[in-house]
């Protein structure tokens, strides 16, 4: 348990979700026979009763690092004013978290009440009830199996809030309803909206002629996707097809930890080894079959996701599918030439496996699933898929900033 506690503390920091030093350093606790913490702090004393009150084995607490701190503080305050949870509309939240409960200050009973119902709770301002505690919002998440659950949920919350804030802001500007303090928060976040100057990395070059090289290429491309901020560690998936076998990342695997987490799935259906493969296996198989591509990379780059949810408010108001955009959007939509399709995770009747492969038939090497993420294709290796992922996201970010600038003028 101690090793896991240390691992997920480190991952929270590496992901840019929490500070490495000082009072913002995350707290991770694990309980088996005894309760262990990665570090002691004023929070651990307050959080210990959570373990007594609930059947859990781990807890993650962190005060989000910039820019998430300002975003979450704004959304939490707004939610408390409305007396509602934060309700992001991205795919991850809709599928796995449902909504994000918020409590005003650090109160152990309130944390327990919220965590009994949901996987996480957002504290609007930890300093509200405890004057000596650092100011600002915090996220608390629990697990029944591993501290990884708290890390995954914390990461999802940060992503969902980021997407919600910028989606809401664009929508408010389009409707002329942006609250004054939202402009202020946006302006404070401006430094995080500058383009990525990172060059396309030197990835394994095709043709890839052995199974070992396939694994090597996938592990490398996955890690770079995380390193470049094109996906949070836990999300996304990746596949490569060679000799009638689709090698695909396993469900719930971290793109920066793919060693040992890749399933070889024979295309002839002679094995059910794909049982633990990514939820998007069917979409990958169908895409490979329709396009002849070898490589598929799927990330959750934030501004691609944000723009996928951007819809003319006037048109949306009269659209009969306006509450089901993620599954039933009837329009053929694009952003900067990249098709946007509806679809939920997996293989249900409204699953993205029914929509995504068709999007690539429009002679495209990239497609965005509404509120979810970007899929890109490569041939021979991952170089082109990675380059497309990076380029589309950079262009989406720049486009977003342009839109906001114009609307504010």
């Amino acid at each position: 348990m101690d090793a896991l506690i240390r691992k997920y503390e480190k991952k929270l920091i590496q992901a840019g979700l929490a500070e490495a030093e000082g009072p913002g350093r995350p707290i991770v606790g694990g309980l088996d026979y005894t309760l262990s913490w990665n570090r002691k702090g004023w929070e651990t004393k307050e959080l210990e009763p959570v373990f007594s009150a609930m059947a859990i084995n781990s807890l993650v607490f962190f005060q989000p690092a910039p820019p998430y701190d300002k975003i979450i503080a704004y959304l939490a305050k707004e939610a408390l004013t409305k007396n509602l949870p934060i309700q992001p509309e991205d795919c991850e939240t809709r599928t796995f978290l449902h909504d994000l409960p918020v409590i005003p200050g650090f109160s152990t009973p309130d944390i327990i009440t919220a965590l009994k119902r949901r996987k996480c709770v957002i504290i609007s301002d930890t300093g509200q009830n405890l004057p000596d505690a650092p100011k600002g919002p915090a996220i608390v998440a629990h697990g029944t199996v591993s501290p990884e659950q708290g890390f995954v949920v914390g990461s999802s919350v940060a992503f969902a809030c980021f997407v919600k804030f910028f989606s809401d802001y664009l929508n408010h500007l389009q409707c002329g309803t942006a609250p004054p303090d939202m402009h202020g928060v946006y302006d404070e976040l401006a430094p995080w909206l500058t383009g990525m100057a990172m060059p396309i990395p030197d990835l394994v070059k095709g043709p890839i002629q052995s199974e070992e090289r396939v694994y090597e290429a996938m592990i490398q491309a996955g890690a770079k996707t995380v390193e470049y901020g094109l996906v949070d560690s836990y999300f996304g998936n990746i596949s490569f097809c060679r000799d009638n076998i689709l090698y695909i990342s396993q469900t719930g695997s971290s793109l920066d930890e793919l060693a040992g987490c890749i399933d070889p799935v024979p295309l002839d259906g002679s094995s059910s080894a794909g049982l633990t493969a990514s939820s998007e296996l069917t979409a990958h198989l169908e895409t490979i079959a329709r396009t002849g591509a070898d490589a598929i990379l799927h990330g959750h780059p934030r501004f691609s996701v944000i723009l996928s949810m951007d819809c003319d408010p006037k048109k949306k108001q009269v659209c009969r599918f306006s509450t089901r955009c993620h599954t039933h959007c009837p329009k053929k939509r694009e952003v900067l030439g990249v098709p946007i399709v509806p679809g939920e995770v997996g293989t249900g009747p409204t699953g993205l496996c029914n929509t995504l492969p068709l999007a690539f038939e429009r002679n495209k090497d990239a497609a965005i699933v509404y509120g979810h993420g970007l899929f890109t294709l490569g041939r021979g290796d991952f170089t082109q898929a990675f380059a497309t992922l990076l380029t589309v996201e950079n262009r989406c970010r720049a486009h977003y900033v342009d839109c906001v600038t114009k609307l504010r003028q």
């Binding site: 088996d32 990884e148 469900t251 719930g252 990514s278 069917t282 997996g346 249900g348």
Partner: protein
């Protein structure tokens, strides 16, 4: 009340009469239904033998049964197991549970012993006892054909139960089995051949929009689950889809658990069965996963074997004959025997005799067990008793006399702990650690480590006790969680409940079983695995090593589990924990 009918049918088969009882609402809240209420009535019976006329057989629906809550169409049966002597229980699918609830009953508690073979027919509030000497000796399919339940749900036993097979099963609606722990023999001990239920009522639901919302959330999560709804998942290939994984992970029990790799496995997988039998989807009432498969070719109408049956009738007994698996599965279902126990007992015999089987021998021995003939007279007692009688007790791969299913514990240490600690014996479903150790849900854990597993197993046991009490299907919980099902429970019953509130009830329900087993005389000695797993390695390879389990680490983790569960070092329930859970 919403969710529950408030009516429990108590049947006395000695007198062929019945009365209706209601429970205090508080008891429903504390024990929920299904396994929980079954355990409540079992404990009230005290320390009776499994075949004592006053020993009840409890059949319970749950508050979600007959609602639109996904996968809620299952029934839970509880009594004292003829095979293990411990708590014996099993969950069964089909439509019986839904029909029973619609007839207005939360459950049925059966005591007494009929002087002659009898069927119980429950149609709405009308209860009839049907003398059925003509059905004695008939297999489950013939019973189904003769009784012709049409819209009704039907549970019945076959000749195996009537001839004293300790692992006799109960067959529901022709294709579903309450397989484990020998509850078919409990039916037979009461001269009960079948139970039929038919109803047309509706369950009162407090908040239908809320329930629809919860349903949508569960459906969305299951759609996102490759194990359930993926193209290689249970919906397409049935539970047999697990076969390749067990081979790939080097944890397929082979040669009576003397090895963990079966060389021909890749030719005997779910894809091979699908190619040979073209199965179609079939499932329980109210389920969207439809994991059951019915053959349309070669043996049309035959239920396809579940994963454990596939594995044990191939790797465990060293057979490469796919058709034999289907034949053996069909024969066991018709005769009314648990396929896991039957195959494991044959594997034990094979190790003792050192002789391989032909297909014909396998089928012949299965028939001998069920008909109480020849060697079958010993084999019908299960692997543990069979091995004891032959002076080779170490060859019985069982925990508390319940034969182990098809996950080798050396390949998943949580499973090792789960087998040893399960209140019904060698069972994978009590804690179902395969979820995180193999399927990576909710997240993956290190399958070769005991670290943290004591608490994980305890929480999972509580969770699955809730699932069996609501009643829902455990497979759904590869994707959804109590968070979503608590929402459904709240919407149906109107009782505000969180996932943690339900887990607290689950802890009570599971601890109650520990108390019952303690009353029956079971303690730490029974919470153990066969010696083989601590002394012999499995079949490593493909960069995977399968060493023997570390005995000291196992015992240390078990000790931690006892501490967390509220037991003393002998596995005895602590008085303060009883009090805390309201189980004094």
């Amino acid at each position: 009340m919403h969710g529950w009918t408030g009516h429990i049918l108590h049947i006395n088969l000695t007198r062929h009469d019945y009365h209706v009882a209601s429970l205090e609402p508080d008891l429903y809240h504390r024990f929920i239904g299904g396994k929980g209420l079954g355990g409540y009535f079992l404990r009230r019976a005290g320390n009776l033998d499994w075949n004592h006329p006053d020993m009840p057989i409890c059949l319970f629906t749950g508050p979600l049964t007959a609602t639109i809550a996904p996968t809620s169409g299952r029934l839970h049966l509880v009594s004292r197991s003829p095979l293990t002597g411990c708590v014996g229980d099993a969950s069964v699918g089909g439509k019986l549970s839904t029909q029973l609830k619609r007839a207005g009953w939360d459950g049925v508690v059966i005591t007494g012993k009929s002087p002659y073979p009898v069927g119980i027919e429950i149609r709405e509030k009308e209860i009839r006892f049907i003398r059925c000497d003509h059905l004695r000796g008939k297999d489950t399919r013939e019973v189904y054909r003769t009784v012709a339940p049409k819209k009704a749900g039907l549970a019945c036993i076959g000749p195996a139960a009537e001839n004293g097979v300790k692992f006799a099963s109960i067959t529901a609606d022709n294709h579903h089995s309450a397989g484990r722990t020998g509850l078919g023999l409990s039916f037979a001990a009461k001269n009960l051949k079948y139970l039929l239920a038919e109803g047309s009522g509706k369950v009162r639901i407090k908040d239908l929009p809320g329930l629809k919302e919860a349903r949508e959330e569960v459906i969305r999560l299951t759609a996102a689950s490759p194990a359930l709804m993926g193209q290689y998942g249970f919906t397409c290939l049935g539970t047999g889809a697990v076969y390749d994984l067990m081979d790939n992970r080097r944890m397929m029990p082979t040669d009576n658990f003397r090895a963990t790799r079966f060389e021909p496995a890749s030719k005997l997988n779910a894809a091979a069965f699908a190619a040979a039998y073209s199965p179609k989807k079939y499932g329980c009432k109210g389920c969207h996963i439809l994991c059951k498969k019915i053959g349309t070719r070669n043996k049309p109408g035959a239920a396809m074997p579940e994963f454990e049956t596939m594995s044990h009738f191939t790797a465990l007994i060293n057979s490469k004959d796919m058709d034999l698996v289907v034949e053996a599965n069909d024969l066991c279902n018709r005769l009314g025997m648990d396929t896991i126990s039957a195959a494991a007992t044959l594997a034990c015999r094979r190790e003792i005799t050192g002789a391989d089987y032909t297909g014909r021998q396998v089928l012949s021995l299965l028939s001998d067990m069920a008909m109480d003939r020849g060697e079958g007279r010993n084999l019908k007692l299960g692997a543990a008793e069979y091995a004891r009688r032959l002076g080779r007790p170490e060859t019985a791969m069982a925990v508390k006399n319940l034969e182990l299913p098809a996950y080798d514990p050396r390949g998943a240490y949580g499973m090792a702990l789960a087998y040893a600690l399960s209140t019904r014996g060698g069972c994978h479903l009590r804690a179902y650690p395969i979820s995180h150790e193999i399927f990576r849900k909710p997240v993956a854990t290190d399958r070769f480590s005991f670290s943290g597993k004591a608490r994980i197993i305890k929480i999972a046991e509580d969770l699955n006790a809730v699932v069996d009490s609501l009643v829902a299907c455990k497979f759904t919980f590869f994707a959804a969680g109590l968070e979503e099902y608590a929402k459904a429970f709240t919407a149906v019953t109107g009782i505000p409940s969180s996932a943690q509130d339900l887990l607290a009830a689950g802890e009570r329900i599971y601890f109650n079983e520990r108390i019952i087993n303690h009353t029956y005389g079971y303690g730490a000695d029974a919470d153990d695995l066969p010696v083989r797993f601590f002394t012999e390695p499995g079949s490593g390879g493909n960069r995977i090593s399968i060493p023997p389990l570390d005995r000291a680490a196992f015992l240390d983790t078990r000790k931690t589990y006892y501490h967390i569960r509220g037991l003393d070092t002998d596995g005895t329930p602590l008085p303060e924990k009883r009090k805390e859970l309201g189980l004094d």
